[in-house]
């Protein structure tokens, strides 16, 4: 299987020959560089400034507490002023950064969880495809198979409709429509989302109640 990226491969330390690759490399590595600088600041309290010029001659810079700050300090060789106000400002800034780091960690962790779930689901689909012909991609099916599948799907559609009507009758009125979803009722459907509204998915992600997800889906 061909590799998509060259991670964990040795890269020769010379200027890249292919212009397109060079631009992509710059983009990725610059991003990674700033990430490392950010981590160094957070973990060790270091003050850092990094300035890079892109192949297109745009300038990117990262600085903690600020690019100008660090440059001035470098040139003047003055120790940073430590007035009461400065300390207060710094304390506030550090608190904000702490909070942001926590948010970032949280977001990344949640993503990892979802990614893992995605891999599980893909595995399930793969297993399903090898067992049942109707789970295969439609392009791989023969005409008679497609016709059968169509009939079955139409039958399913009918049942889904019936069941939904049943629920609607039992719970009359749009406000209760999405009562179980606690998403605040977006009946009939969120037009802005352009189709599937991922925000409606959130109520399902109740990690404290895994029974729901494993139970049906």
């Amino acid at each position: 299987m061909a590799r998509k990226s060259r991670g964990r491969q040795k890269v020769e330390m010379v200027k890249m020959s292919k212009e397109s690759n060079l631009q992509v490399t710059f983009s990725k590595r610059r991003s990674g560089l700033f990430k490392k600088a950010s981590e160094l600041s957070t973990l060790c309290g270091a003050e850092i400034a990094i300035i890079v010029f892109s192949p297109g001659n745009r300038v990117f810079s990262f600085g903690h507490p600020g690019v100008e700050n660090v440059i001035d300090r470098y040139f003047t060789r003055n120790p940073p002023q430590n007035s009461g106000t400065m300390q207060l400002i710094e304390a506030h800034r550090n608190a904000t950064v702490r909070e942001l780091n926590m948010q970032l960690t949280q977001a990344v962790n949640q993503f990892e969880i979802e990614k893992k779930r995605g891999e599980e689901l893909s595995q399930m689909r793969k297993a399903g495809q090898s067992q049942s012909w109707w789970e295969a991609p439609i392009e791989e099916l023969t005409l008679p198979q497609i016709e059968q599948l169509k009939v079955s799907l139409e039958g399913l559609k009918m049942n889904v409709t019936k069941q939904a009507q049943k629920l609607l009758i039992e719970n009359p009125g749009p406000p209760q429509f999405f009562a179980s979803s606690s998403s605040g009722g977006i009946f009939p459907y969120d037009r802005k989302a352009g189709g599937f509204n991922p925000n409606m998915v959130l109520p399902h992600y109740d990690y404290n109640n895994p029974g729901y997800r494993r139970g049906f889906f």
Partner: protein, 231 residues
């Protein structure tokens, strides 16, 4: 190289912090150097720490001077455009992480619904589904039906044109275009699907029993198909 996850917070243990600083500072300098070489661009780094009276720089004091003056010659707007500090940088990363999360959830939801659809096709009950699930399920069924119709049309066209054109005839059968879960142009279609629920539907007739039929179970009316395929 540790493979343990490092918590993104100030290291309170003095010796651990100093050791981390040394390692990471070295790594950072290496990365700047690589970036500069690989992409043939100008760069500089300045690192100040409580461990050194002098800031440590890359590539060299002269090199830093050069890059800084290049930087400061630029109009202020250009300087600031892509300038970030910890706060702004972290906010950017958080935004990106949330975007990735959202997309992954959407993809997962699509996979879950597809899986549910296949389960229901082979007889699983619809009882445990709420309206939202039913809506998504119905949408997924519709999308598959659409794809099926497209595919069966194109297959039939191939057959017809092959018959018409003789052995040399060719009509490349088109790959059924699968609309992305999100780029569903049928926004109105989706709403329509649900609105249809509120109006009485004509029940669809089932085809006659066919031993190759999927064992679709209609809980309300028809008895389960007996099927040689699925005991």
């Amino acid at each position: 190289m540790t493979r343990k996850k490092v918590k993104l917070a100030y290291i309170t243990n003095d010796s651990a912090r100093k050791a981390t600083f040394k390692k990471r500072k070295k790594g950072l300098m290496k990365k700047v150097s690589e970036l500069s070489t690989l992409c043939g661009i100008e760069a500089c780094a300045i690192i100040c720490s409580p461990y050194d009276t002098q800031p440590e720089v890359w590539p060299s004091p002269l090199g830093v001077q050069r890059v800084l003056s290049q930087f400061q010659k630029l109009p202020e707007m250009e300087q600031c455009k892509k300038m970030v500090n910890q706060e702004s940088f972290l906010r950017q990363r958080i935004t990106k992480a949330n975007e990735h999360l959202k997309k992954q959830r959407k993809d997962n939801r699509e996979k879950e619904v597809t899986h549910a659809m296949f389960q229901c096709l082979t007889g699983k009950s619809l009882q445990n589904l709420n309206l939202m699930d039913l809506n998504d399920l119905g949408w997924m069924v519709d999308r598959n039906l659409k794809e099926i119709n497209k595919r069966s049309d194109s297959l039939k066209n191939v057959t017809i044109s092959q018959m018409a054109a003789g052995p040399s005839g060719e009509h490349p059968s088109q790959r059924a275009e699968v609309p992305a879960f999100e780029e569903n142009n049928d926004n109105m279609h989706r709403q329509q699907w649900f609105m249809d629920l509120l109006t009485p539907q004509e029940p669809l007739g089932f085809g006659g029993p066919d031993e190759m039929m999927l064992p679709f179970v209609d809980n309300n009316q028809n008895p389960p198909w007996s099927n040689t395929f699925f005991p």
